[in-house]
């Protein structure tokens, strides 16, 4: 049995879509138990609309809600009875294996570090969404958790990302590349120039060198390593260019009578194709390197994404990703980019 806490109050379509997603997940897999965290009367009312095995969903009351505009550190500190804090505490106390939320990114990142806590030796937990490519999906790591990261952080991102792609997504010997502004080793900013030789030394990953942003949508690498500011720009521009182009295609087809007829004919095929390029199909972004699993799903997640995010937690748990991360850190202990012997802030393992 795998237990996943789900933030019923976070996201643009909460609680309805969060609850619906939880129901879809338990109906798809009898091994899952969902702890729906939120204001009990609202969540229970919403649950009444659905059919599911009662023992698979439990409501955990949390009276407060963290809004997306709230400064994250303050919100986590003050709103002790918010759905995010309560849900993360369930993970910390091993009452849940994972926590899924579509709420405030900032609060999730802060809460992940200070409540759930890092695996001993992990310097920074990166946020790592899957992004669609021509060939399937790639893992973008880090995409918003740690701006101004150091080379050793990026090396850990590469290792954790490689384990995730291999064991959760199922890509054998995933190609790991670092985002750069040219293909040659001597190109790049100071961070990339320092990180590149460290990645080359890593015998436990399949490092293929630099990747230019142009090659990302073509599927040029499976694990795309970058500093969080750059990763965030990549993720958001993906969305922006996609939305703009699809809008242009649609309005272009409405331009003449002739093309309107054509549009009716191509619509079903086009819809199917574009769906494969829609990030929402691939579940949420894990915050890797924590004692447990925290998954951030897009703020505008609907039931399908919530369901996929919950199912993702099952694979993560079954594959023992955190044990594999611990093992990797142990193996690289003593190297400049491996296991550090300093306990982290929370003194947690």
């Amino acid at each position: 049995m795998i237990r996943v806490a789900v933030d019923a109050m976070g996201g643009d379509y909460a609680p309805a879509q969060m609850v619906a997603g939880a129901v879809e997940a338990v109906n798809a897999n009898k091994e899952i138990q969902v702890l729906l965290v939120g204001q009990e009367h609202i969540v229970s009312e919403e649950l009444k609309k659905h059919t599911y095995q009662k023992e698979q969903i439990q409501v955990v009351n949390a009276s407060e809600v963290i809004e997306t505009e709230e400064p994250p550190v303050n919100a986590i500190r003050k709103k002790k009875d918010s759905s995010i804090v309560v849900g993360m505490n369930l993970v910390k106390q091993k009452e849940a294996d994972a926590f899924v939320s579509a709420g405030s990114s900032g609060a999730i990142l802060v809460g992940g570090q200070v409540i759930v806590g890092r695996i001993k030796g992990v310097e920074r937990p990166p946020l790592a969404p899957l992004i669609p490519t021509e060939k399937g999906v790639s893992l973008l790591i880090d995409c918003g958790a740690n701006v101004d990261a150091r080379p050793s952080h990026l090396v850990q991102f590469a290792r954790m990302g490689s384990l995730y792609m291999e064991h959760v997504v199922g890509i054998k010997n995933p190609r790991v590349a670092i985002v750069n502004i040219g293909a040659e080793e001597e190109k790049g900013n100071a961070l990339v120039k320092e990180t590149f030789p460290l990645l080359k030394e890593c015998k436990d990953i399949h490092f293929t060198g630099s990747i230019e942003a142009r090659e990302i949508p073509h599927g040029g690498a499976d694990v795309i390593v970058c500093e969080a500011f750059v990763g965030n720009v990549i993720l958001k521009l993906y969305e922006g260019v996609g939305a703009t182009l699809i809008g242009k295609v649609k309005s272009g087809m409405m331009g003449s009578f002739r093309s309107k007829i054509g549009a009716l004919l191509v619509k079903p095929a086009l819809k199917e194709t574009l769906k494969s390029f829609d990030a929402s199909q691939y579940g949420g972004a894990p915050l890797l390197g924590l004692n447990g699993l925290v998954v951030k799903t897009h703020g505008n997640s609907k039931a399908i994404e919530v369901k996929n995010s919950i199912l993702q937690c099952v694979t993560f748990k079954e594959q023992g990703i955190n044990d594999k991360i611990r093992e990797s850190l142990r193996k690289n202990e003593g190297t400049p980019f491996g296991h550090t012997t300093m306990p982290n802030k929370n003194g947690q393992e």
Copy 2:
């Protein structure tokens, strides 16, 4: 009369498309004289295929060619008779007002600084392409010239970019924004956090705050300020996502008999729409802040882009952009981000 030196040897389709573009430009505007720089016999042979006013095009011999793979600093130093070095020297010696090349980006950036030289007070010359948006175009500055830039550099980019958008592109009071990972002032990496308050103080630009990458294709700002690594990622991802999506749309429409018929009907309208989202329509990227003008056009430029890049030089000259940059630097002398009194490396004005 405006004189533009054009690198006949640089780019994927040189010399044919470079020569064709030069011919189209002089045929479109009688006030332009083009100095075609390259291996004389090859260029002259190519020119014979075209009809134009002989006095409007002159061939300037340059026996060497810098290849894109060559390390730029070395190439500029050693290949004194290359089309890039000869063309830039024409600008330096005021025999040409501008130099247009589709050749090695690295060599053009290095040559711009060491041969043409910076305007006194300009700390770093940024490369600033126009990128298509839903609403028209935006200027992305800097997009590859200066990685790991400092806040004062970004402030100068904002000012130079604003002048360019207003006077060359014709956008009144252009909206200037800094690329960030959130809309709030406290968000960002160290560079953005330091730069933000400096931009707020600039009375001579219309600073609108942060812009998230998602908003760039929607036309959220006219001048998009960022450090070169980030700018390069934005520019290349624009290309990559665009190419991938258009490919998906096309193959999606070929998926069934029904949609194939539809595709035939929508094709002309779609082609027209996508053209408006094609960066090549907007000429090349100026390297701003030099004593003269250097324009880098895309390596795969064809005649239309070469022509547009040449015509762009005319507006740049007519509007006296460099005088406006000098005036802006003078006005802001003594401020932490304005005119510095230190001579630059070349001791040039």
